[in-house]
Symmetry: C2
């Protein structure tokens, strides 16, 4: 089998050494990291293949179909959904590392589009586009390592999605090599009638084929990035300010995120390693003390708000936003956070690594709610999380949350829990503790009428939702899978298609 | 059969009289209208049913499945895609008129959402929302008659989509009663990971089920609507102004449409019946004459541009847009077109009716292209259209076009052809002439690398595209159809699913 694979791609493009196999065995969820750190890698892929182009990918799919071999597309390896982990059904598994498909094929400056291969990583893509005065503006937390193909496969949401759009709006077309042929979806700048196949392929997690290429919608690099912090006495007042700002049709923030008091306190305490956050926390302290002698830190909330564009425009936007914050009783304003933000924006995954090194249980879950139900859903989620950490043996733990991805209708809440690890370092016990907390929180939120977001690879979400939708979502996804990958060559993680 | 249907819904809710059947036999394409006017209705539905609620709809689907009866969901009857026309496969056909599902179920002012039944028409919906200071902002040309369910089923694009969004972004969730159960898709204000089923149901033309309900994203009613006309010496200069305006990130026009010289001339000549357009044309003439003695009307283009929002904001937007127009050598500016626009915005279908009464062949096709290729695609389309009208026996004819739905990457071009009818009033000959012109134009544009939009029910589009996509689009849509409507109860027009 290996011989035929080497004949297909060339010796250089196939690796079976242990570092390559172990290095492609997991993604980067907490469950992945604790197992990897414990050296628990019982089921790595049998080989890692590096296709050089779309033709190699198509050849690999045919090769795998003839031999009943499972294939796993692999971009930057930052997946948290468990999709990179090989199946245990006895089939040989080859992971397709797409890092050699990393070219910007063409840029149309006049139409602000670029045709780009899917294996390119975030910094390489932006550097190339920035040279021509353009940007994609897609900066997920994994930006430094993750790839265009990964963003498309996971329906990724960048930190500045309010201005630049989520990946599903930034992609004008994708090319997917499926086991039954090459599928190109959405090659028009203006959307056509009919069901939107592009939006089926975006978020497909590689289950229907290997994403090899995309046409991207670009924007000019902004002249000014003006990020500031605004402190509120209470979470409720901060929430109100965010709602009014995003519902104000003249305002278009690039970033709007509201951190609850636990998140603000945690960032202040935890970030010994992060100079930017540390300085921000120090500065916050200096601001608060002289101005409000009676200020209670117990319930404060910090709004991080940023505008990007021409200088005159961002100044005008800030005048308007500042007035709204004043009306919501903001306490103080921290200017010039742009540099701090640039340093801290990708910091949280590193922070998580440090916490895991110190044997701390750590996990994040997301929920989305309308403005009317958001305060209730936030309270439910945070409360359930505290209870679940205790119930899992994690001690009193620590729960912090922030609001992100706000729109006129509502917003997402990301909540992170910290706790004591159980199981004396047994990786499977650690993983089980983490999963237990997540499931308990998801069930509590869904029972309260909320909706969990599955970005964090929460397996229970679709099961819970399916109770509400008569299993029809499953049914549709299964029929798509059978239509595009009838032999199930592309391993789709949990066999849900 | 009729007895069991009446037992199911009640006598009042089932009509088999000729006016009801003939009135539901067609949509409103040119081919539909010429056949209806000629009294050529050989195949109307056998009955028209008026379900009162979602339960009635589900009961009807079961009833039809047991008896091998085809069902056709019917909203406002303004379809131009041929989907309302009964199949000729020998099965009995019942058309489901959804006009009784016309309630706004709830409005959440704080979260700016509304839950609305799918059978509501445009004016009823807007009146209800306007009473609470809100608007959906979706105004397709069929607005006066078409329904929410129809907008969703056809993936409708409103005239002010640049500010308010196309229907696929305005719908937060839909409920579809399918033959295999009730499917609710997308009940979160923030989009989740995974393939987007909502975007499959939007544009499904009723092929997978009956859309009974949607949750809509709303906006506040604008304080000011400031629409103006700007005249350019050439189509190219007008195009350049539009491109710069939509690529300018600070500008957010509600409407931007550029009419070529033939369109401007035609509206001036044809609109005896339309006072608004007439006055606009007169005013144009007055403006042009004194200011540019050397002005040649041969190649001028008219930009219709509008901003909606707070007064200060629209004024600022116009200052910026006006500067761009100046730089593109605009000739003159017509202020205060808002009233004219309000009167003329739904006028074109009426104009078409008048033309058909005068035995004129008339049809419209749309294409989309990036800014880089748009001038070439425009020329190809207009040229092919002129040739095709002549070849069809339509005489020299008349072809006019306008640009619409511009975005940073490109825009759509809608071109309309007029010609002499052939066939001495034989409706099938008229329909064939119209189809011949459309197919010839579509083939020419696609051969030139362009892409046709299928909003006008162009049957050839997907066939042409499928040559490029290995039939995979068909394959996916067929598998969806088999998954959700295995017995093919919901007639899907051309059996394409």
């Amino acid at each position: 089998v290996l011989v035929s694979l080497r004949r297909l791609l060339g010796d250089e493009a196939v690796r079976v050494d242990k570092p390559a196999r172990v290095g492609h065995a997991y993604g980067q969820s907490y469950g992945d990291l604790v197992r990897l750190r414990a050296g628990y890698v019982p089921n790595p892929p049998d080989a890692v293949a590096y296709p050089a182009d779309q033709r190699d990918v198509a050849a690999l799919l045919s090769w795998a179909a003839e031999r009943d071999i499972a294939l796993i597309p692999y971009g930057g390896g930052t997946s948290t959904t468990g999709r990179l982990e090989p199946p245990t059904d006895g089939r040989p598994v080859v992971t397709l590392d797409l890092s050699h498909l990393n070219q910007v094929l063409s840029v149309d400056v006049r139409s602000r589009t670029a045709r780009v291969q899917a294996g390119i990583d975030g910094p390489s893509l932006e550097t190339h586009l920035n040279d021509q005065g353009l940007t994609l503006g897609h900066f997920p937390q994994s930006f430094e390592f993750s790839t265009l193909g990964g963003w498309v496969a996971t329906r990724s949401v960048g930190q500045q999605a309010l201005t630049y759009g989520t990946i599903d709006t930034l992609v004008q077309a994708v090319r997917v090599v499926t086991p039954v042929g090459i599928l190109t979806a959405g090659d028009s700048p203006v959307e056509d009638a009919g069901p939107n196949l592009l939006q089926l392929l975006i978020g497909s997690e590689g289950a229907y084929g290997v994403i090899t290429e995309a046409v991207l919608r670009l924007r000019p690099l902004p002249a000014v990035r003006d990020y500031r912090g605004v402190l509120f006495e209470s979470w409720e007042e901060g929430l109100e300010a965010v709602r009014v700002i995003v519902q104000e049709s003249d305002l278009r923030p690039a970033l709007i995120a509201l951190f609850d008091h636990s998140a603000v306190a945690a960032y202040t305490l935890l970030n010994h390693e992060q100079r930017g956050l540390r300085r921000m926390a120090d500065a916050l302290g200096r601001y608060i003390k002289p101005r409000r002698a009676d200020f209670s830190p117990g319930d404060r909330a910090l709004l991080l708000l940023g505008f990007e564009g021409e200088g005159g425009w961002t100044a005008q936007q800030w005048r308007q936003a500042g007035k709204i914050c004043d009306e919501c009783h903001s306490i103080s304003l921290l200017r010039n956070l742009s540099q701090h933000w640039a340093r801290m924006r990708y910091a949280l995954p590193y922070l998580r690594d440090i916490l895991i090194s110190h044997s701390v249980l750590v996990g994040t879950l997301g929920t989305a709610a309308t403005w009317a139900s958001l305060p209730r859903i936030y309270a439910t989620m945070v409360g359930a999380m505290k209870g679940a950490v205790i119930a899992s043996g994690g001690g009193p733990g620590y729960v912090m949350a922030h609001l992100s991805h706000a729109c006129a209708q509502g917003a997402a809440i990301q909540a992170t829990f910290l706790g004591r690890q159980v199981g004396d370092g047994d990786p499977l016990a650690l993983q089980a503790q983490w999963e237990t907390v997540r499931q308990a929180v998801a069930e509590a939120v869904v029972s309260a009428g909320g909706r969990m977001l599955s970005y964090n690879g929460l397996r229970t979400v679709h099961t819970l939702l399916d109770d509400r939708t008569n299993g029809l979502r499953e049914r549709v996804l299964r029929s798509l899978k059978e239509s595009l990958d009838p032999l199930d060559i592309l391993w789709s993680g949990d066999r849900r298609g």
